[in-house]
């Protein structure tokens, strides 16, 4: 197999996904098949070829560092699943 079940579990952990046994099996099979197809890229000679991460030539888009209007606090918090006193609530990060 191109990608093992252990590798799927490892990658899922990195991506913060919690997969059950059935999903791990399915994903190992499907992802493996896709990666085998992706391996056709190995037949392309890319020696000395520069990588492209952006298709349009652009210089850095600089701007003046001026303060502009931004979302007010209530609006920024409007979609929060849990909030209190103008803050986002998250589960406890550090256990005492």
């Amino acid at each position: 197999m191109k990608i093992t079940k252990d590798e799927v579990v490892h990658v899922a952990k990195l991506a913060r996904l919690d997969l059950d046994e059935k999903s791990i099996d399915r994903l190992a099979g499907q992802t493996g098949k896709i990666l085998e197809y992706v391996d056709t890229l190995n037949s392309v000679d890319t020696k000395g070829v520069l990588p492209t991460s952006h298709a349009i030539f652009l210089n850095n888009a600089f701007r003046e560092d001026n303060v502009k209007e931004s979302l007010d606090r209530d609006k920024a918090l409007a979609n929060a699943p849990e909030k209190e006193n103008g803050n986002f609530i998250v589960p406890k990060v550090i256990n005492s």
């Binding site: 991506a15 499907q30 929060a80 406890k92």
Partner: protein, 486 residues
């Protein structure tokens, strides 16, 4: 004739002459949605009330003599473009209850032009798919044959236009998501050059490939929407400060002197349906009769485009989708009391199977030990694919190909095999990798009566020549006049 059947330019003429009101037009479209939505399933959200208010505003502007080509025109918007105060879900459970606090750049532009937003159209979750079957909300059916898929990921936008459930719509295209559904639904769709239209307020899938564009009933309408949404936006650092021409003006030019390149590789492609081949071949001869010169071109490395794409797009997606963690917006699994547990459970319950598959694929491609073999390699092949287009455009103005290898397939036919589904984007993906513009224009029907589109591709910022070619083709044919019987 029912008002909902009008094109944008026809409706705008009537509005300008005072023969109809936007309220009548919008009511007609909303009634049409009411009567066919159950069968088509094009919309996630219908905003009847706010649409009627916008129509009322448009009517009062028109009465004051303030009219643009979009004033009072009812449009559908793909549900991954942020609309202030109107739920925007990306067809994902993870954003089920998300109400954007701001408008996307394109929505600001449309509102300024006086357009009416009737609702948000269905799509594959986070635009990942080619059939709209990956929607976490509902299934969309092809208006031409309800047992078939409408294409994807902008399947709701294309089906809504084909079934007269809006006069035009906006979609987004990362690997063919505007052109392929447009082809399957018998409507016009354009993916603009990367950077032509601001992505501000477009929920990101693969940032180096995503682009917003129009889906319309005819080519003139495509030009009208391109005029409205194009342009530089300082809020999107990849938006390009390039002048916006009047795209409708290209519809007044003839075809003599235009050279159309036919890629030798594409027309020998494996799995190309014979009806699609015949329709595209006929399209080539129509263009020749109109004065275009057709030449052979070669795009030898585009056969690697799908493999390249399925490294680059999931890699970018895995990074972009990290933000859905149940903290700032959207769904949270409130049962989980530990931070990491909450993240994991929220994401696993919130994302559908295709999205999870791509996150796994992308995270793997970017992970330690695999980065060079996958991600770096793919970005190098991307350079070679861009070179192919650069060389081809030395000898032609437009490249012509099929949009999809087959007409619309049956719902459920390809859901078990992701790779087969991915290969349905074989002709459209190269344009996204190269950042060039591409368009789908109706060019025929299969023996079963399903629409077929042909693809026109142009070099960076040459949308005009595509519109010119497509308009001339459309005037010489009547494929765009046939309507789905629904």
């Amino acid at each position: 004739m029912n008002l909902y059947e009008l094109t944008i330019h026809e409706a705008s003429d009537l509005l300008r002459k005072g023969k109809i009101s936007s309220k009548e037009l919008t009511r007609s479209v909303l009634d049409r949605i009411d009567s066919v939505e159950k069968e088509v399933g094009a919309y996630i959200t219908v905003a009847a009330e706010s649409a009627m208010e916008q129509a009322d505003d448009a009517d009062s502007e028109i009465s004051k003599g303030n009219i643009t080509p979009l004033t009072g025109i009812p449009l559908g918007i793909k549900d991954l473009i942020c609309t202030k105060g109107l739920r925007t879900t990306c067809a994902s459970r993870v954003l089920d209850n998300f109400v954007p606090p701001y408008d996307a750049f394109v929505i600001k532009k449309l509102k300024k032009a006086g357009a009416v937003i009737v609702g948000k159209t269905n799509m594959d979750e986070f635009a990942m798919g080619s059939s709209t079957e990956n929607s976490g909300m509902k299934v969309t059916h092809n208006p031409w044959d309800l047992s078939c898929i409408p294409g994807g990921s902008s399947g709701g936008s294309a089906a809504a236009v084909a079934a007269d459930m809006c006069l035009g719509s906006l979609g987004s295209d990362t690997g063919g998501s505007i052109r392929q559904p447009a082809s399957h639904c018998g409507v016009v769709g354009m993916k603009p050059t990367y950077g032509r239209v601001s992505r501000f307020g477009l929920v990101a899938f693969a940032s180096s490939l995503d682009q917003i564009g129009p889906v319309t009933k005819d080519v003139m309408d495509c030009g009208i929407l391109m005029n409205a949404v194009s342009g530089y936006d300082p809020e999107d650092s990849t938006s390009v400060p390039e002048d916006v021409p009047d795209y409708t003006s290209f519809c007044r030019e003839g075809l003599s002197g235009v050279t159309v390149g036919i890629p030798v590789e594409y027309h020998k492609a494996e799995g190309l349906d014979k009806d699609v081949f015949a329709a595209v071949k006929n399209g080539i001869s129509v263009l020749e009769d109109l004065g275009a010169v057709c030449v052979e071109v070669s795009l030898p490395r585009t056969k690697y485009a799908v493999a390249t794409y399925y490294v680059i797009a999931p890699s970018e997606a895995s990074s972009n989708l990290a933000r859905y963690d149940g903290v700032k917006y959207g769904f949270r699994d409130k049962e989980k009391k530990e931070l990491i547990d909450m993240y994991q459970s929220t994401r696993s319950k919130g994302f559908g199977p295709e999205v999870q598959r791509r996150i796994i694929l992308g995270t793997y491609s970017l992970s330690a030990g695999y980065y060079d073999a996958y991600y770096k390699k793919a970005t190098q092949v991307r350079t070679l694919i861009m070179e192919d287009f650069k060389n081809a455009f030395k000898t032609c103005d437009v490249i012509l190909s099929p949009v999809a290898p087959t007409p619309a397939f049956k719902t459920g036919e390809k859901t078990q095999d992701p790779l087969t589904m991915y290969l349905s984007d074989i002709f459209t993906i190269p344009a996204n990798l190269a950042g060039i513009t591409g368009m789908s224009v109706p060019c025929g029907f299969s023996a079963a009566g399903l629409p077929i589109g042909m693809q026109l591709m142009g070099s960076h910022f040459n949308e005009g020549i595509l519109l010119k070619t497509a308009y001339n083709f459309e005037q010489a044919t009547d494929f765009h006049k046939r309507k789905a019987e629904i």
